[in-house]
């Protein structure tokens, strides 16, 4: 199997597939790490956001094309679907449920989000049923690119752009704006930020909504690639956690590095040793954590007395 590694075409395929997959992972996982960083909540409903995003996008894109609206507008529809899901579900979950749980054990809050996730899984079924939904049109719109014998879908390649835009926007938002700096202050020390007059409740709500939108965005942009069917949210939450834990929980650059590492390793596995594809992701995580228990990008934490 390793002689194929020296073949430039295989190498190219691994690199591009890896980058595409890493970009997808980053978009899917970054909302999770953001919410964890700010709120110290591991948000299991992130998987529901992803699923709702995918279903909503598939429905809206279907409607868009049924009515013969301008084809390239469908990309705006994907973003719009994510915004709708995040702005509707985010406040409902945060204001309606989570805010009553602040101050409880982290583990209890995980269980609360897990319970919410279970409820939302069935709400999905009640709204969309068990049918599959397709939104393949945007996928075909962009055509393909050839590199020698290799053919790549431009839609997949554009995911790299999406990841760069999302990552860049987050970086600028956090480091370049006043509100972002307030957010960083909350990440660094919640109590201190509060005593300096930062409205932590507001920061929490905005962060949660932002995280929800990001999760839904991941789902919306995945919808054209797959058949949207029940159960897609379940896999994503575990995968997103693996990425985030590899990079270091709560760190945005960490999510990017984690996504890159996992993406490239998985692409290598897919091309050279397809049987291990499913668990190589978790193997990367276990390996990283065996040497760096808090992930690649994490601040050392003081021991609690």
């Amino acid at each position: 199997m390793f002689e194929t590694l020296t073949d430039p075409l295989t190498l190219m395929a691994i690199l591009v597939d890896g980058l595409v997959y890493a970009s997808w992972l980053f978009v899917v996982a970054v909302g999770l790490t953001l919410i964890f960083g700010v709120m110290q909540i591991l948000n299991v409903t992130h998987g529901s956001m992803y699923a709702f995003g995918a279903y909503t996008a598939a429905t809206m894109v279907g409607w868009w094309f049924d009515n013969d609206l301008p084809e390239f507008g469908s990309f705006a529809v994907l973003v719009f679907a994510a915004l709708v899901v995040g702005l509707v579900l985010g406040p409902i979950i945060e204001r309606g449920l989570l805010r009553y749980m602040y101050g409880k054990d982290e583990v209890i809050i995980v269980l609360v989000t897990y319970a919410t996730f279970l409820i939302l899984e069935d709400v999905l079924l009640l709204i969309w049923g068990t049918d599959m939904y397709d939104a393949f049109q945007p996928y075909g719109l962009l055509g393909t690119t050839d590199f020698g014998d290799l053919t790549f879908s431009n839609y997949d390649l554009s995911l790299i752009g999406l990841a760069l835009v999302v990552g860049g926007a987050l970086w600028w938002g956090l480091n370049g704006t006043k509100r972002g700096k307030l957010l960083l202050a909350v990440i660094h020390d919640r109590e201190m930020a509060q005593s300096f007059g930062v409205n932590v409740n507001l920061v929490f709500m905005v962060t949660f909504i932002l995280g929800a939108i990001l999760g839904a965005l991941g789902g919306a942009f995945t919808a054209p690639q797959i058949s949207v069917a029940p159960g897609i949210g379940v896999e994503v939450i575990v995968l997103a956690f693996a990425v985030v834990a590899t990079g270091g929980m709560g760190s945005v650059p960490g999510a990017a590095i984690g996504a890159l590492a996992v993406g490239l390793v998985r692409a290598t596995a897919v091309h050279l040793l397809p049987q291990v594809e499913l668990f190589v992701i978790y193997a990367v995580m276990a390996l990283v954590l065996a040497f760096r228990p808090q992930g690649l990008f994490s601040r050392a934490e003081a021991r609690k007395i």
Partner: protein, 315 residues
């Protein structure tokens, strides 16, 4: 050996359950076997919970126990229920011992999620392994009991008896562990690790022991479940939603006593059976809503209600 009130109570309750199995219909015996074998897994979750640890990955050991039984039957031709249950327990326990070296460093969310991610590795392996039937799984041998090979109703009842016996032994062991000095100290770990270390106890080792104990118990539960259902497959045994069910039963039961999981597991199994029959589409919704309700209003589980009633009687 002296037995305390809890142990005697459990023995009496399980003896009654054993006698009942001759009277009640077959499906009830089957349901009871499944519920009691889930109890075994929940004992492990209970032990972990006392230290504030939640594992979203007990399905790893559960599946390992089940698959060990299935494979030993398939490839070695072993059919003895007791032997295979012990084997399943040992395999799961050894795996837990290896994993505990990595896992015992972590607390809270990290502990929960890493155990889940590790269990997903096994799920991934099982799904991709064709000889083990990948997603379909395979059928498990019909068990024998020291040469006695019952069929039909007798088999069902024999299996139930074995389950009760194994669970009683496990319950007494866990009960004694929790009431020992070590058991009490590991509850203190939840409050303050450093102080516990100053008392001369290695927190790492204490947690390692809990992980191994919980893993072995989950292996036992998995082995018995594999026998009772007669089939193992990744989705029913190794997927993380299975671990989620165990966590759910733990919270439903409460962790105040080893008797609590019996209550929780039985209620869970009954509700699950009915919900699957009448409204499979909203089963998770019910589960989630009940979980939220429990966390908000009965955080100490059903057992706290039992305790409350008992205290009233005393007063």
């Amino acid at each position: 050996m002296k037995f305390d009130k809890t142990e005697k109570g459990l023995a009496v309750a399980l003896a009654i359950a054993a006698l009942l199995s001759f009277v009640v219909p077959e499906w009830a015996v089957f349901l009871g076997t499944l519920a009691v074998s889930k109890c075994l897994v929940v004992f492990g979750c209970l032990v972990l919970w006392r230290t504030g640890l939640v594992s979203f990955g007990q399905a790893l050991y559960f599946a390992l126990g089940g698959y060990t039984v299935g494979m030993a039957g398939k490839y070695l031709g072993w059919t003895d229920a007791v032997l295979l249950t012990v084997l399943g327990t040992i395999v799961a326990g050894v795996m837990a011992a290896i994993i505990s070296m990595l896992l015992a460093r972590y607390r809270e969310i990290f502990f929960a999620m890493f155990s889940m991610a590790l269990s997903m590795i096994l799920y991934g392996v099982l799904v991709k392994t064709e000889v083990l039937g990948s997603t379909d799984g395979f059928n498990v041998v019909v068990p024998t009991f020291f040469g006695y090979a019952p069929e039909g109703t007798e088999l069902l009842i024999s299996m139930f008896m074995l389950t009760l016996l194994v669970t009683l032994i496990a319950a007494v062991f866990v009960h004694r562990y929790l009431s020992s000095t070590l058991g009490h100290l590991t509850t203190a770990i939840k409050d303050n690790e450093i102080r516990v270390e100053y008392l001369g106890l290695s927190v790492f080792k204490a947690i390692q022991f809990k992980v191994i104990l919980a893993g072995a118990l989950a292996g036992t539960g998995g082995a018995i479940t594999a026998f009772s259902v007669g089939h193992v497959d990744p989705d029913a045994m190794a997927y993380w939603t299975v671990s989620g069910e165990f966590v759910f039963i733990t919270i439903l039961s409460g962790t105040g006593s080893v008797a609590a999981p019996f209550l929780g597991a039985l209620l869970f199994q009954v509700v699950r059976t009915y919900a699957f029959q009448y409204s499979p589409q909203t089963w998770q919704l019910v589960l989630g809503a009940v979980l939220l309700f429990l966390i908000m209003f009965i955080p100490d589980g059903l057992w706290s209600l039992v305790r409350r009633i008992r205290n009233k009687e005393v007063a």
